[in-house]
């Protein structure tokens, strides 16, 4: 199913989203924070799209807002898209989880929380996976400074 048909089909769902294709090789949708869960559930449930494989979850810090990039693929219909979601609130960033749709998101969202501090509502046990529980600050944010053990070159 080519990108144009995908865009037409997804426009019929009536979400407010921007679709772009330049600067990347995938068809990218930027979704609002509120209807992320609904959008993802429809993407998997709808037999025409049936995105059943979430193969990459990337936490991002675009300077003034934090966000997550989901790379989705459909194993039988052989097409792939990228879903982006952003939140401007940097003190207590909050997104809703997708781990009830794709089971692998459980681990990936723990990783994004560990490095970016984005809390996921509805996640079974959101905890620091890689860093020690008493680690202060979220390392992969752009404004993270740790001169104790980071020798900058």
């Amino acid at each position: 199913m080519s990108n144009e048909e995908l865009i037409k089909l997804i426009d019929t769902w009536g979400f407010t989203l921007q679709t772009t294709e330049e600067g990347t090789e995938f068809l990218t949708f930027t979704v609002r924070k509120e209807d992320l869960h609904e959008f993802c559930r429809k993407l998997k449930a709808d037999p025409a799209t049936h995105f059943d494989l979430l193969f990459c979850v990337t936490g991002m810090d675009w300077g003034n807002e934090l966000g997550v990039i989901y790379h989705l693929a459909s194993t039988d219909l052989k097409h792939e898209i990228v879903v982006k979601v952003m939140t401007a609130d940097r003190e207590t960033p909050e997104l809703d989880t997708v781990c009830d749709i794709w089971r692998t998101a459980e681990f990936h969202e723990m990783e994004v929380f560990d490095f970016f501090g984005i809390r996921f509502k509805g996640h079974p046990n959101l905890k620091r996976l890689f860093l020690t529980p008493d680690w202060d600050g979220y390392p992969l944010r752009k404004d993270y400074v740790d001169e104790a053990n980071m020798v900058i070159k």
Partner: protein, 200 residues
């Protein structure tokens, strides 16, 4: 961060009196290695040292890529079972040699320290690979790597390389054997006493 004077036991450093100078911004404090080696040995000492040096049982401890080269050394081509090292013990109680093969990370440092404390007394440490010596390729820009295993436990032999060849590991093991043969068998200077209390 003052870097206190670090005495090293290395053959080539013996005569030249070269002082090991660390870069100024070397983070953390380094524990002086070497547990009283290189002294005149009595007859009984030489017998016990012969026993100890010829049966060093390494601990199952490999964190990253250097562990593969350690496994290669254990395999048939560069066989370290000729020296009797192949009895690798999973429990620290029975092992008397830790080969730190790989990077030591901040979260792993207390585990390594506890393993070292659990080992029975005549215990030796080999830092294998650049990561164990000074953090290796992860020295700059990494927030989670301990810059060298001798911040955590005293190290007897350093084997450079990333990863060092199996022959280099064998040479390091033989160097450790030579060092044990010149050691004082009964009274053992434990170089880590006082490190926790900060008096070291």
């Amino acid at each position: 961060m003052g870097i206190d004077e670090k005495k090293r036991f290395l053959d080539q450093y013996q005569g030249s009196g070269m002082e090991y100078d660390l870069p100024k911004d070397f983070p953390g404090k380094v524990i002086p290695g070497g547990n009283g080696g290189n002294i005149v040995v009595t007859a009984l000492d030489s017998v016990i040292n012969w026993g100890r040096s010829n049966s060093l049982w390494p601990l199952y401890f490999g964190t990253s890529c250097c562990a593969i080269e350690m496994m290669q050394t254990g395999a048939s081509k560069h066989d370290f079972s000729r020296f009797g090292f192949e009895v690798a013990r999973p429990s620290p109680r029975q092992a008397d040699l830790i080969i730190i093969a790989g990077t030591i990370v901040n979260k792993m440092a207390p585990v390594l320290r506890r393993l070292y404390d659990q080992m029975a007394e005549p215990k030796y440490v080999i830092a294998m690979g650049a990561c164990a010596i000074s953090g290796g390729p992860f020295y700059y820009n990494s927030y989670s790597v301990v810059k060298g295993a001798d911040h955590v436990i005293p190290v007897d032999v350093y084997i450079p390389g990333c990863p060092p060849r199996p022959e280099a590991l064998l040479e390091g093991l033989i160097l450790l054997q030579k060092k044990i043969k010149t050691e004082h068998a009964k009274t053992k200077v434990n170089p880590i006493d006082g490190f926790d209390e900060g008096t070291l």
